[in-house]
């Protein structure tokens, strides 16, 4: 999508500047760079700073930020707004993310592009409300009821909070699906130097328009084009099982089968296009030990890998940037020659169990809960025990 | 003029009950869908108030000026 004049004006001033800011704040700037037109949210620790900065800055770029009465309303409002052609988002943490699940399913079923940021905190329930965790990995995957696939990305630095917001909005438009930025309280509240990108480096994906205007929920392609409200096309959007023209048909088994398999496949079949990982292979290429991590846990994990190498141990490292769809090919390739894989996570092993489904080496979950991230020493000890 | 669309009518009898001038009567034959649709007993009585047209849940009655 073309970047509007008001936003260009605003972004031109930012380009090249370096700010020492929170991950949450970087995420907010990322949303503005990504062309977010509309934000609706509800305060929650540790995500509130996203809403606060967007409320302050987005209007200057011509966008709108509102606070709704709850998270149910926030996600509802951004889905409604998305059907006018707007790029829309909300930001929350675990409890709010739980409340949003029904309408995330609605966005999946109606193929509504939108972005949901979840700055994960320690749960279940109120848990350790102000402490970070990575406990919502599987909720992001399976939180809403019914079969579906989902896209979720996990940043590991304040800079990446900004950068990945651009990817989130582009993926949402390309695949016509809700996209989740799976941050965590550690990354949301980390304060780091963040470089504001130059306007010339920013690209916004096009939201493909439907031809003919009526066929917005089917047709020959996995991702159908969209027709927005207010264009005279009498668009009918429903969360019930529907035909290509949007009209409800809940009685024909084939209609549901075709619709759901296509919605599932448009992400599953494009996995290799969507997935991004970051590989740091040991230079001698003979590592029998590997570490896979993501988000906050990937920082001490990468540090520990460096220390282990300094101590003379060959260790490979893979960071998952895309959490869902799962980086199956990359993980299998990474683990092919390994004896042991360590998976440090700030949960009780959600991704390590996913990895176990695909690899032949021994998978060791280095889980840590309690609201304090792993230390380099803890992960180093685990590596050395595995040697 | 009163027009009744037999195919849309579900025989709820609202028009029969509430016509201020008792223009309608219940028919003794079923329509295609098995409902007893109203028939016009006394079209001359109709003053065109459109109450039946507006009350009808089925778009099955229309009053025209012809």
């Amino acid at each position: 999508m073309a970047i509007e004049a008001n936003r260009k004006e605003y972004l031109r001033r930012l380009g090249g500047k370096k700010y020492f800011i929170l991950g949450d704040e970087a995420c907010a700037y990322g949303a503005i760079y990504a062309g977010c037109d509309f934000f609706a949210g509800y305060p929650i620790t540790p995500a509130t700073e996203i809403a606060e900065l967007i409320a302050l800055e987005l209007p200057k770029a011509g966008g709108i930020c509102i606070q709704m009465e709850d998270e149910l309303a926030s996600i509802a409002a951004i889905i409604g707004a998305a059907w006018t052609g707007a790029r829309t988002m909300t930001a929350t943490s675990g409890p709010g993310f739980s409340l949003m699940q029904e309408n995330i399913g609605y966005a999946i079923m109606t193929e509504t592009p939108c972005v949901i940021v979840n700055v994960q905190r320690s749960g279940p329930s109120t848990g350790q409300a102000t402490k970070p965790a990575q406990g919502d990995v599987m909720q992001a995957r399976w939180g809403t009821h019914g079969d579906h696939d989902i896209i979720a990305l996990a940043p590991h630095s304040a800079q990446e909070c900004l950068d990945l917001m651009l990817d989130c909005f582009n993926l949402a438009d390309i695949y016509r699906t809700p996209v989740i930025l799976l941050m965590d309280g550690e990354i949301g509240h980390i304060r780091e130097s963040v470089t504001m990108p130059e306007l010339s480096t920013i690209t916004h994906a096009e939201r493909k328009l439907a031809q003919p205007a009526e066929d917005i929920f089917g047709g020959p392609e996995l991702v159908p084009g969209i027709t927005h409200y207010g264009e005279g096309a009498n668009v009918h959007v429903t969360g019930s099982t529907h035909l290509a023209n949007g009209m409800r048909d809940v009685a024909t088994p084939e209609v549901h089968d075709v619709l759901l398999r296509r919605i599932y496949r448009k992400i599953a079949d494009n996995r290799e296009q969507i997935v991004r990982t970051e590989l740091d292979k040991d230079t001698d290429g003979k590592a029998k030990i590997g570490v896979i991590a993501y988000g906050a846990a990937s920082r001490p994990a990468h540090g520990a890998v460096g220390r282990a190498r300094n101590n003379g141990n060959a260790v490979d490292f893979l960071r998952l940037i895309t959490i869902w769809p799962f980086a199956r090919t990359q993980v299998v390739e990474f683990c092919r020659d390994l004896d042991v894989l360590l998976v440090p996570e700030m949960n009780l092993g959600q991704i390590s169990r996913e990895i176990e489904r695909f690899v032949n080496c021994r998978v060791v979950s280095v889980s840590k809960i309690g609201g304090v991230p792993h230390t380099v020493e803890e992960i180093l000890t685990a590596i050395e025990e595995a040697v | 003029m009163i027009e009744i669309n037999d195919d849309l009518c579900k025989g709820c009898d609202i028009c029969i009950e509430f016509c201020p001038l008792n223009v309608f009567l219940k028919s003794d034959t079923l329509n295609r869908k098995g409902y007893y649709v109203p028939v016009i007993a006394e079209e001359d009585l109709c003053v065109g108030c459109r109450l039946c047209e507006l009350l009808c849940p089925e778009f099955a009655i229309i009053i025209t000026n012809e």
Binding site: P59, A61, A81, W83, Y229, G230, H236, R248 | -
Partner: protein, 282 residues
């Protein structure tokens, strides 16, 4: 009797008519009044977005009304409509949904939308029951009533939703019944043409899943009661709460001016954008 085409068929998705409402269901009458109101004020359906939730009356606009339609999750239509209206203030955004949807599961959105005075028209069809699921007690079911989930009797008082919305800050509130079709139509016209949060509570009938439980198995049983129990708001002076509880107070409950939400929101955007431009030219 000839097969005529109703003059308002252009306003409905004719290919799926007749609609699926039960015999004598009030939803059909509300659709009829709504379509007439839209035609009467010359509103182009292409300039409208109709939003609904889950329940029988949510089917009135979606799928039956031929405009852009958004059939949302249960209780959330007002929140979805808020997003639509903010991004497209030029479109007329109408919410039509039931009492359970709007005042039960979605009650929070209702009061906050009224408080904001966002320019939406909300037409709440109140049939006093959860009809689609087969006749369970609703927040609007009169106390004492036996329903499938209050088989002994309902001990809760019924919500006076229009009064609640008025107190919450809506600028136009009215209550009518499916018997009072002409004033209902006029009221819908007012709601859709004025700016601000407009709310019409439409007392309606569910002969199949409510009526048959309370000895009113036909639409006419209900409509006669609506006709006889209704009392105009301007005739209620001096009546006690107890007397009023036995009646259906109809008419325009309020019509007032307050700053509208979306207008103010866009004002802020214009100010902020202008400030950035000024800074640049400095």
């Amino acid at each position: 009797m000839g097969e005529y085409r109703h003059r308002l068929m252009d306003y409905v998705r004719e290919e799926i008519m007749p609609h699926r409402f039960c015999v004598g269901c009030g939803c059909g009458t509300v659709l009829n009044a709504f379509v007439n109101a839209v035609e009467e004020i010359g509103l182009e359906p292409t300039k409208m977005v109709c939003v609904s939730g889950i329940g029988c009356s949510s089917w009135i606009p979606s799928p039956y009304f031929r405009s852009d339609t958004l059939h949302t999750t249960h209780g959330r239509p007002i929140a979805f409509a808020t997003g639509v209206k903010i991004m497209r203030p030029d479109l007329t955004v109408v919410v039509i949904a039931g009492d359970g949807d709007v005042s039960g599961i979605g009650g929070n959105h209702l009061i906050h939308a009224a408080r904001r005075n966002i320019d939406l028209s909300v037409f709440m069809v109140n049939n006093m029951i959860y009809g689609m699921t087969g006749g369970q007690v609703a927040p609007t079911t009169p106390s004492g009533t036996k329903t499938s989930t209050t088989p002994h009797r309902n001990i809760e008082p019924a919500f006076k939703v229009a009064d609640l919305v008025m107190t919450a800050g809506a600028t136009y509130v009215a209550r009518w019944t499916t018997y009072h079709v002409f004033p209902l139509m006029e009221s819908m016209q007012n709601a859709m043409t004025r700016k601000g949060f407009s709310f019409i509570e439409i007392i309606s009938q569910c002969p199949d899943n409510y009526g048959r439980r309370i000895g009113k198995p036909t639409a006419n049983d209900f409509l006669k009661q609506f006709r006889d129990d209704a009392i105009r708001i301007n005739k209620t002076e001096g009546m006690s709460e107890e007397q009023l509880d036995k009646r259906i107070v109809i008419g325009k409950l309020c019509d007032r001016e307050r700053p509208e939400y979306v207008t103010q929101l866009h004002e802020i955007i214009r100010e902020q954008v202008a400030a950035v431009k000024r800074e640049k030219t400095k």
